[in-house]
Amino acid sequence: MTGGRSWDITGRFIRVWQRNFRAYSESWKIGFIPPILEPLFYLLAFGVGLAALVGNIHYRGTDISYMVFIAPALLAINIMNNAFYENTYSSYVRMYYYKTFDAMMATPLSLEEIITGEIIWGATKSLIATAIMQAVISLFGLIHYPEGLLILPLAFVGGLAFGALGMFFTGIVKSIDLFNLPIFLLVTPMFLFGGTFFPLETLPHWAQQVAFALPLTHLVNLTRAFSTGILDGSVATGLVYLAVFSLIFFPLALRKMRRRLIR
C-alpha cells in the first residue's frame, strides 16, 4: 500500500486520543455550546422561516415536512464539520504551533499512532457533537426512533472519513491559511449541494453526478434514511462509499504526514 514500507501502528494510539480528550474536557463547556445552538438557529431560520414557503418535500415516495427533511442534513453537516475542522485547524495547531507531535515523537509513540489517534479523536468529536445536536433536534420530534439511534455510530464512521480527509490536507498545506482552499472548494459546495437543503433531484443531471461523487451527499442520505426510518438500498451504497473513502484517505493522510514530519 505504501511502496513496501509497512505502517507502525499499535494500540498505543489511544494515548494520543486520551491527550486530546483530556484537553477537551478542560474546556468542554465551551465545546458543548455550538452543537446545542446551531440546530436551533438553522431550524428557526430554515424550518420556521423557509418551511412556510416550501411546504412539504417529496422523499422516497412519501411527503415529509421541510423540517424533517433538513434535520438529518444538519446532523450530517455537523459530523463533517467537527471531524474536518478538528483534523485540519486543530491538528495543524498541535503539529505546527504547539509542537505536540514533536514531543510525542520522542516517546515510544510512532508517527502513525499519533496521526491515527488524531483522526480517531476527530471522529469522537463528531460523535459527541452529534449526540448533543441530535438530542436537541429530537425535542422537536423530528427524528424517528429507534432507527434514529443508528445516527450515532454513523457519526463516528462519517467522522473517520472526514477526519482522514482533513488530515490529508494537514499533511500537504504550506500554511494554516491555505485550509481556506479545501473549505471553499470542497466543504462549502458539499454543504450547499449535497442534498442538504433541497433534494438532489432538482439539480441538473451533471450536477447530481458530481454530488454523488462527494462524501457529504452519501452521509446526508444515510442520516436522512436513519432519521426518517425509510431505509432502502442507498444505505448500503452510502456505507460502502464511506468505508472506501476512509480506506483511501487514511493511508494517504499517514503518508503525507510522514513525508511532512519525518526529516
Binding site: R12, R15, Q18, R19, R22, A23, E26, Y98, K99, T100, D102, A103, M104, M105, A106, T107, P108, L109, S110, I262, R263
Partner: protein, 316 residues
C-alpha cells in the same frame, strides 16, 4: 526526593550507552552529519559543541529516533536504533530545543499525560508527576498552564517531563538557551544532581561555561564533522595551552617579538591573542615592553578552544 525516582540502582550497561560509527545524515544536497564516530559511556555527561548548523541537533535527533539516519551504525543501550526504536525511546528522556510543552494542559497534567505516552499507569503517572514537580521546585505552579510560567520554570518543567519515564539516558538540546543567569544555574544544579545519581547525559550547547561545568567529555563539531574530542581541561591544554594574554591595539613591535619567539598566537587586528604554555616570564616581559593600551593575562577556556578551531566568522 525519593530514591526510586531515579535509576541509580539499575545494573549498569557493560558497553557504551551510545555508540555511533560513521554516522551520516544527508538532507537533499546538504551533508548535515558527515561520517562521525563517537561513544558515550554509562554515567558520564557528554557534550556536543559547535556553531549553528554544525550538525549537533541532527545528531541527537538521530539518537532519539526522531530523524532516520542516512548511513553508518548507531546503537543506543547496545540496540540498533533502526531495529528497536521503541525500546530505545522508552528508556531515554529528551528535552528538545523548542518548548514542546502542551499549552492546553497544566504543569501537572503535562507530566501525567506525557507519562501515559510511555504506558505508565495512571496511578504511577500521578505519583511521578508529584515527585518531579517537587524535585524541580514547581509544586506551587502545578496548576498553571505553560503560558503562565517563566522561561526558567518552563525549562525545569520540560526537564521534569523528560524524567517521567525514569530514563537511563537524558538527552538535552541546548538546555539553557535563552535563560537568565539565575535560571541557568538552577538548571545546572538539577543536572549535576542527576549526573551524581548516575544518569547518563548527552547535551548540546554553545555555551562554553556550561560545557566546561557539566561535561566529563565533549566533542566540538563543525560542518557535520568532529574536530576534537576529550575532557574539557585536556582539550584546553592541548589546543590553546594553560594561559592566554590578550593585548588590545597591539603594535608592530609586539608582532615582531612574537614572530621572533615563534609564539602561538592569533592576530585579530585590533586585538592580539597569545597562547601560553606557562605564564611567568613571558607575561611580565610583554607587559613591560608592549602593553600600551593594556593587556590581560587570563586562564584559557573552552571558548578559546572553540574559537580557535571553528574560526571567528559569523555563522548565520
Amino acid at each position: 526526593m525519593t530514591g526510586r525516582a531515579f535509576p541509580e540502582d539499575r545494573p549498569k550497561e557493560p558497553g557504551p550507552v551510545i555508540e555511533a560509527s560513521r554516522l551520516r545524515k544527508i538532507f537533499g544536497d546538504l551533508v548535515a552529519v558527515d561520517d562521525i564516530s563517537f561513544a558515550v559511556k554509562p554515567g558520564e555527561c557528554f557534550g556536543i559543541l559547535g556553531p549553528n548548523g554544525a550538525g549537533k541537533t541532527t545528531t541527537i535527533r538521530m539518537i532519539y529516533g526522531y530523524s532516520p539516519m542516512t548511513g553508518g551504525m548507531l546503537q543506543v543501550f547496545g540496540l540498533d536504533i533502526r531495529r528497536h526504536p521503541r525500546t530505545i525511546k522508552a528508556r531515554i528522556g529528551v528535552c528538545q530545543q523548542e518548548n514542546t510543552l502542551d499549552p492546553d494542559l497544566t504543569a501537572q497534567q503535562n507530566l501525567e499525560v506525557f507519562a501515559r505516552y510511555f504506558d505508565i499507569s495512571e496511578a504511577q503517572a500521578q505519583r511521578r508527576a508529584n515527585e518531579l514537580l517537587r524535585f524541580m521546585a514547581l509544586e506551587h505552579r502545578k496548576d498553571a498552564k505553560s503560558a503562565e510560567l517563566s522561561g526558567g520554570m518552563i525549562r525545569r518543567l520540560v526537564l521534569a517531563r523528560a524524567l517521567v519515564n525514569q530514563p537511563e539516558l537524558l538527552i538535552l538540546d541546548e538546555p539553557t538557551t535563552g535563560l537568565d543567569p539565575q535560571a541557568r544555574h538552577q538548571v545546572w544544579e538539577r543536572l549535576e544532581d542527576l549526573r551524581a545519581r548516575g544518569l547518563s547525559i548527552l547535551l548540546t550547547t554553545h555555551y562554553m561555561d556550561e560545557a566546561s561545568r557539566l561535561c566529563d567529555r565533549l566533542m566540538i563539531m563543525d560542518q557535520g564533522r568532529i574536530l576534537v574530542e576529550g575532557a574539557p581541561a585536556e582539550l584546553i591544554r592541548q589546543n590553546v595551552g594553560l594561559d592566554i594574554i590578550e593585548v588590545a591595539s597591539p603594535d608592530e613591535a609586539l608582532r615582531q617579538f612574537i614572530r621572533e619567539r615563534d609564539l602561538p598566537s592569533e592576530d585579530l587586528g585590533h586585538r592580539l591573542i597569545i597562547y601560553l604554555e606557562d605564564r611567568n616570564d613571558l607575561y611580565h616581559e610583554i607587559r613591560a615592553r608592549y602593553c600600551g593600551e593594556g593587556c590581560t593575562l587570563r586562564m584559557a577556556t573552552m571558548e578559546d578552544v572553540f574559537l580557535k578551531l571553528t574560526g571567528r566568522e559569523l555563522r548565520e
